[in-house]
């Protein structure tokens, strides 16, 4: 019983300790003029879907969940957002060349088709971010159109 107590105390100290390690937060009040929604004529339903399902990790502004400041959760969020933005940042869409846009749109289509995005770890908590078959089709049709018009 004593050993259990010691382990619990160690865990508690470690848990409290890591709370003091700072993380970068992905938040911004402004939407730059290069934003995907601003430069493309995106139907409202698709705008909403992109916002809910993609923008948390693929833009400069994350709607953080309540537990976002608790470590080690904050680290994982930070990591995912960094990766997501490196791959695709919707806020900076129009700074890409046509070639790059075509590549990105292609990847979006493939990832939605294959159910690779949004990540399962994301939809686990944000169930509203999942794509129904109809929603996926709607988005893929729109993105395909956009790609063909480049």
């Amino acid at each position: 019983m004593k050993i259990v107590k010691i382990i619990a105390i160690i865990l508690l100290v470690a848990f409290v300790g890591i709370q003091f390690i700072p993380t970068t937060r992905n938040q911004s009040d402004t939407v730059p003029s290069t934003d995907f929604m601003l430069v493309n004529n995106v139907p409202e339903t698709i705008q909403k879907k992109l916002q809910v399902s993609c923008y948390d990790c693929h833009s400069n502004n994350t709607q953080y969940p309540w537990y976002n400041k608790i470590q080690p959760v904050a680290w994982f969020l930070e990591d995912h957002i960094k990766e997501g933005k490196a791959e695709l940042n919707f806020n900076e869409w129009d700074s890409l060349s046509s070639r790059r846009k075509a590549s990105k749109l292609r990847s979006i289509i493939k990832q939605i088709e294959n159910g690779e995005m949004p990540l399962d770890s994301y939809t686990l908590i944000h169930s509203e971010a999942t794509f129904t078959e109809a929603k996926a089709e709607e988005l893929i049709n729109f993105i395909t159109q956009l790609k063909d018009s480049l």
Partner: protein, 200 residues
């Protein structure tokens, strides 16, 4: 005393829950290590600056030739259905693309080449970390990039632009040999396709 125990118990449970949650995130991360990869590439390109200088000293567009050689090696790995080798060669190609030096070209050509290279690097990086179906998807766009690059840089040897009408609505690639060996299907449909253009 028992109060302390139950408090500790609650804290321990909270900690375990958080750890489990983060583990889930962690395992997903392995499916999409894209971010890691761009970092890896930075390291690579740094390490290869010496090689770049040597190549440049030798001849004008040996840069483009290095990219082409790595592209053909990658293509052959895909023809051979070799996922592991294609991963390695994707990373090699990302490096030689990173070393590409366009300074001898005009400003317009330079910006076009920069754009091509940037796009191609991303696809090569993805190839270095994907299963074979994904590798082939990325190879399609990569091939377009390389074809566009050759249109500017030219090539030292004779090239054949080949075309498979079946893969993803019709897809092209480059080869040094006239006979068709399909990188998009490999052994499944090795000879599907035709030569649609000869370069040089």
């Amino acid at each position: 005393m028992s109060k302390l125990k139950s408090t500790l118990g609650i804290v321990a449970i909270a900690f375990i829950t958080l750890t489990v949650m983060s583990c889930k995130d962690n395992s997903k991360e392995q499916n999409s290590t894209d971010g890691d990869h761009s970092q890896m590439n930075h390291d690579n390109s740094d390490g290869h600056h010496d090689g770049e200088k040597k190549e440049m000293a030798m001849s004008g567009d040996s840069n483009a030739q290095a990219v082409l050689n790595d592209y053909f090696n990658l293509k052959n790995a895909l023809v051979g259905d070799d996922n592991g080798k294609a991963k390695e060669l994707g990373a090699t190609l990302a490096t030689s693309l990173g070393n590409f030096d366009a300074s001898q070209y005009t400003d317009t050509q330079q910006s076009e080449l920069k754009d091509i290279v940037e796009d191609a690097v991303e696809h090569a990086e993805h190839i270095s970390e994907s299963d074979i179906a994904h590798q082939r998807e990325h190879f399609k766009v990569l091939s377009k990039d390389v074809i566009d690059m050759v249109a500017i840089t030219g090539a030292e040897m004779k090239l054949y632009e080949q075309f498979c009408p079946m893969y993803d609505g019709g897809t092209a690639w480059l080869s040094t040999k006239e006979e068709v060996r399909n990188p998009y299907y490999g052994s499944q449909m090795l000879k599907c396709g035709k030569v649609q253009r000869e370069i040089n």
